[in-house]
Symmetry: C2
């Protein structure tokens, strides 16, 4: 009946239909029964955790304070505690059948029914759209997402009078406020609007109010120009990549999958999981893919310590498993050691305990950016599958990613042997730590973390990409020209135009197996400018320097600062050096392995070794080492670099092998229509990498090196050595 | 028969007795049988490891090169590989009965029998006593310790002719060379001489040569002034503490326990395990005690990454278990995940698999230094027993510890929640890493790591204790005046005279429980000088600064160096500040917890925040933060400091609690004959710590604070709060 009603979401049904059944529409009641008796470990753990939380709330008097404080303040935290307790109480009631939980939810909601109608805009409202319970409406939306689910679980236990009071004075009012009452935010194509749509839409299902559902799906005018479906269509790429990057993809994912599950349950005919070739399921898998050892690649504004062990992913994994029955989700849940108390989470706990899990595959893969997949990409190259110690090379060729994006076009990261080797600073922020600007983004996030020099990519004239203006950055995306992820030798080539006026730069990154060890990483970066400029190529590495392989002058008496602005003011200079004809090298150790970074910078290049932390009076920045190659007064430049993992250091056995580079020489020649790079190992045949300017797979090219003529077909070729 | 002969070790028996049985005297053959059939995991692991190593050696041709290279060079490493393979082959022969192993050992030893008689002093000999196979005789001793054991295991398989050749041309010659041929080193009271004694003595048992045994036990003149027994009597304190510190105690331990086990087997009447109230067994246990989470306290010259997972400790744990049957050794073996292939190690593997292990107790304890236990002590205060997350406070009140000792009298370290919080740099060395001076101690070990300012203790006039002269340091040891380790509140008081002319300083460190969390650490340091001086008190902490709690001027344009010598030349200065009447504070975060260091420095004190790494052109030093309190122009000073662990940061749950100090105030008053320190928590009653100058447990004292007269008896009292 409800279904029939909702099929035609276009027609407006203003008032709720009073006579309808009140049972749950967001959870399948049968699903809760799945674990009566037997309690699989994950479920038992969640039950204990949520019971402790809810019982504690139930012991305290109902506390629904008049909103007053901004984020972190008392009333803010209390309203958060309330929706968490409401949500938990609802689930506990369904699982245990204990009426105390339902009654607590009732009393809590009746208190909100008293307070809510009296509220105007939040007194602490700031720039963001103001909420009523919270300083920003985003938090009100989150309240509604959790609240609607908690309410759904107990609504059928209420007297008609209580139910009407709560329906009308809490949920319908909140949904009205967050939709028509807040239309500008509600109709945006932005993840904040997704939270609002999810809250309003789920409320619609719970109240059997098809008008609310229609607004949620298609925007306040129900034209479909806004609303959840438009967000699904526009906020993810065809590969399920969310443009802000992995850290915010994790955060944005929750309202998408939670509401999608509700839609699938109540309007299966919309085929939400199939929409855009299953983009929402791709989004769940892609979120999991963009990690190393469970930790998200810290691209754009991101906390480095954020892993798959987070509420959004407990939800997403449970919902993804319910929607697909893909057993590889179970191995992720196993790594998380957590699940949810929803029927979906209960199924995860049960099937994991039953040993149904399969390993989650981590292939080398390209994740295109942009709604049509045309705004660059994230290229992820993995030396091995599902192995924590595998090497992962990430080429960040994605688009700006809105206001949390960094000015780091064609940046790269490297993980090896379980450690971060070539790093991204992530965000300058101490989440939830009051003494650090209340846990908000620090000004060093603008002055350092977002700046180009804080990344491993090209800087022109000590200024950042797009002159540090993200809206300008939205107008120019990189182009992913080539990607090969199937053979042992993996390749990504991308090009960027518009980061700097008159400058185009192109970068090829190669994950190059050589011998038995971890692959080498070859980096060919070519820039063409319309006038002479200063080109800097920084490398942010993690480890302790073992050997400085170039003539260097060290700053001993005092340590100067590298520059004045755009991040340069935060760099202490330890060493200034030069590269010879043979190039230069730097060797460091990280954990049990050595890394040698071998450079063939443009002629006349200077080399700097430095450390972050200058002009940082409040110690807001981590102190991290960096290397910078600089060449001045040239229009066109080519940087060729090779990063080589080698050797082993074992403190227990007191043994060290191959602490010195196993590469004897690195050479580069520019041909007529491409580049050749020769890697000569200490033992064995040289390896030649050929990279054509053209990406046509059928065009043939040739160039000479060491008196040898090399001919190849297509954009890329790997010649000699144990060619792969 | 052999026993009877050896009882009278004094009488000289020049030639070996030919007619004796040739079976093993260092290993009980029966012990090897213990695992025939069943293979407990630890044993199986060792068997696989040693088989792989020995089989590889057996596949290669016998390689006994003419000695040429110094440490790390080819001939050096090859002779090391040979004794390892010889030792392994002997054990494998006994375990498997496979004659191939015995034959390999025979062929290898016959090659040595060819080479060894031809050798003179090693061509690469340096300052250390020259060896013949190796550049220093120490390595020759180690060869003999392993070689004698390997030989013992297979000697009864040899023809009389081969046996005589190897007896005479390898082992007897080596033993002669290392004893009478090298008398000066052999007769030292030093762990190098212990290796020699062990090698010579074990050879004596294997060859049934009582003369060699006698030299090993009592020195070349057999007077007992030198030799193993004298070393046992003089190199360990009555608590089994080895004066060089934990890192070298680990290293020194092996020849002691290996030779002791041989003595116990062949001359039980010497009661070697009972000698000095069982000091060798205490030494094994003390070595294990001086760790946190399995890692040795990095006192004096020490590598921070050295843990109980090391060959010396696999041996020591096996031998200790065999000698005592104490099941708590088994839990250490379990943590190590390793054992040995000796009968002792086999018993460990078997009993561990049988579940006989008990937890190893880690009490708070005083480890006295010096042969009579009168040369200071190491005070170890643990907040809980056998808990990796417990807090451990280490007061380093021990003596100089010879040439590897640091100038750090009354230094302290702190571990909390599984992390190092107040640090010791350890040694400036990259063990076995060729590019770092061949893995030897770096010059920064002298210029930084050993210097006083590199530690958490008092520096006078920017010079180091004993003016940086360790031989002078040997003349002055601290006095441990008081230790209380049984109550929840733990206390150590020690005094140092002679570190600086005319200056005496005394330090009380208190591990002070307050509320539910980890204990606080109160530090009262008083110095009395005969003239005005500059007093510095550094704190080397690990973590990221959250809040600088004092007026501070930051170095932005350039970063100056703190001083010119004695370690000060390695310190960059970030911030210079001052302390107010209320004192000063610094808060940092490390892992999931916050730490606030609250200071009441002497009036007019300056505060410095800095980082190591200045004047370090080769990047030999780790970059680590430090805080330094400085007061100039005073003769007598008192530094009162309180380190407070607080709060919790959980990145997964995105929650933070108590990121700010829970202490409201810290006050100090000096009474007529003691000090009072008042700690006022934000909530709850103040805690008053009373410390009398006198350590007499019966004397009563009184002093006034906040208008309150405090009376107490004995050196220390804890008044108020939840007094413990």
């Amino acid at each position: 009946m409800i279904r029939a009603l909702l099929v035609t979401t276009a027609l407006v049904v203003a008032a709720p239909v009073a006579a309808q059944p009140a049972g749950p529409v967001l959870f399948d009641p049968v699903g809760f029964a799945a674990v009566r008796g037997a309690q699989p470990p994950l479920f038992a753990g969640e039950l204990t955790r949520v019971k402790a939380l809810v019982e504690a709330a139930m012991r305290a008097p109902i506390d629904v304070p008049v909103p007053k404080d901004p984020g972190g303040g008392y009333t803010h935290e209390q309203h958060k505690r309330n929706y968490t307790a409401l949500y938990g109480a609802g689930l506990l009631y369904r699982i245990t059948g204990d009426a105390r939980y339902a009654d607590y939810a009732r009393r809590l909601l009746l208190a909100y029914a008293q307070l809510y109608p009296t509220l105007g805009p939040h007194p602490a409202k700031a720039n963001e759209a103001a909420g009523r319970l919270f300083w920003q409406s985003l938090n009100d939306s989150v309240w509604l997402v959790y609240g609607a689910q908690g309410y759904d679980a107990i609504r059928d236990t209420l007297s008609p009078a209580d139910r009407k009071t709560i329906d009308d004075n809490v949920f319908r009012r909140m949904a009205e406020f967050l939709s028509v009452g807040n239309a500008a935010s509600f109709n945006r194509i932005h993840n904040h609007a997704t939270w609002a749509a999810a809250g309003v839409g789920m409320t619609g299902y719970v109240l059997r109010d098809s008008e609310l559902v229609a607004r949620a799906l298609k925007g306040t005018d129900k034209s479909g120009k806004a609303g959840f479906l438009a967000q699904v269509d526009q906020l993810f790429s065809p590969d399920g990549y969310y443009t802000e990057g992995p850290y915010y993809q994790r955060y944005a994912l929750q309202p998408f999958v939670v509401f999608a599950a509700a839609i699938a349950a109540n309007q299966p005919e919309l085929g939400i999981w199939k929409r855009r070739d299953g983009v929402l399921l791709k989004a769940i898998r892609t979120t999991i893919q963009l990690t190393y050892d469970g930790y998200f690649f810290p691209l754009n504004d991101a906390m480095r310590d954020k892993s798959l062990k987070t509420d959004e992913l407990y939800q997403a994994v449970a919902i993804g498993y319910a929607a697909t029955q893909d057993p590889s989700f179970l191995s992720i849940a196993q790594w998380q050691g957590r699940s949810t108390l929803t029927p979906d989470g209960i199924a995860v706990a049960r099937d994991l305990a039953a040993g149904k899990f399969k390993p989650f595959a981590f292939p080398s893969q390209l994740y295109r950016d942009g709604p049509e997949g045309t705004r660059g990409a994230l290229a992820v190259m993995r030396s091995r599958q599902g192995d924590d110690a595998a090497q992962v090379l990430v080429a960040k060729n994605s688009a700006m990613g809105m206001g949390h994006g960094h000015f780091d076009k064609l940046n790269w990261l490297l993980y090896d042997a379980g450690k971060v080797i070539v790093t991204d600073y992530g965000a300058a922020r101490f989440l939830n730590i009051e003494a650090k600007d209340g846990g908000r983004y620090l000004k060093e996030n603008e002055s350092w973390a977002k700046q180009t020099v804080a990344h491993n990519t090209l800087v022109v004239n000590e200024s950042s990409h797009f002159d540090g203006k993200w809206k300008l950055g939205e107008e120019h995306a990189p182009r992913q020209l080539f990607f090969a992820g199937d053979a042992p030798t993996k390749v990504s080539t991308a090009e960027m135009t518009g980061a700097y006026p008159g400058v185009t730069f192109r970068r090829t990154l190669v994950q190059l197996p050589l011998g038995k060890g971890s692959p080498l990483v070859l980096d060919l970066l070519r820039a063409k400018g319309d006038k002479p400029a200063t080109y800097d190529l920084p490398l942010h590495y993690a480890g302790h320097i073992i050997e400085v392989g170039f003539p260097a002058k060290s700053n001993t008496a005092a340590r100067p600062v590298l520059g004045a602005a755009n991040g340069y003011q935060h760099i202490w200079v330890d060493v200034v050096g030069t590269a010879g004809a043979e190039g230069a090298a730097l060797t460091w150790i990280n954990g049990g392995r050595f890394y040698t970074y071998r450079m063939l910078p443009p002629e006349g290049a200077m080399l700097y070794l430095g450390e972050t932390g200058a002009n940082d009076p409040r110690f807001n920045l981590r102190r991290e080492p960096l290397l910078l190659q600089r060449v001045a007064g040239k229009a066109d430049v080519t940087f060729v670099s090779l990063l080589e993992p080698h050797g082993a250091y074992d403190p227990a056995a007191e043994t060290t092998v191959a602490s010195q580079s196993q590469v004897q020489a690195l050479r580069h020649v520019r041909g007529s229509d491409g580049d050749l790079v020769l890697v000569q190992p200490r033992t064995g045949a040289p390896v030649i990498i050929a990279i054509a300017d053209d990406t046509d797979p059928n065009k043939t090219h040739s160039a000479m090196i060491d008196g040898r003529t090399i001919r190849w077909t297509g954009h890329f070729a790997h010649i000699g050595g144990d060619a792969k």
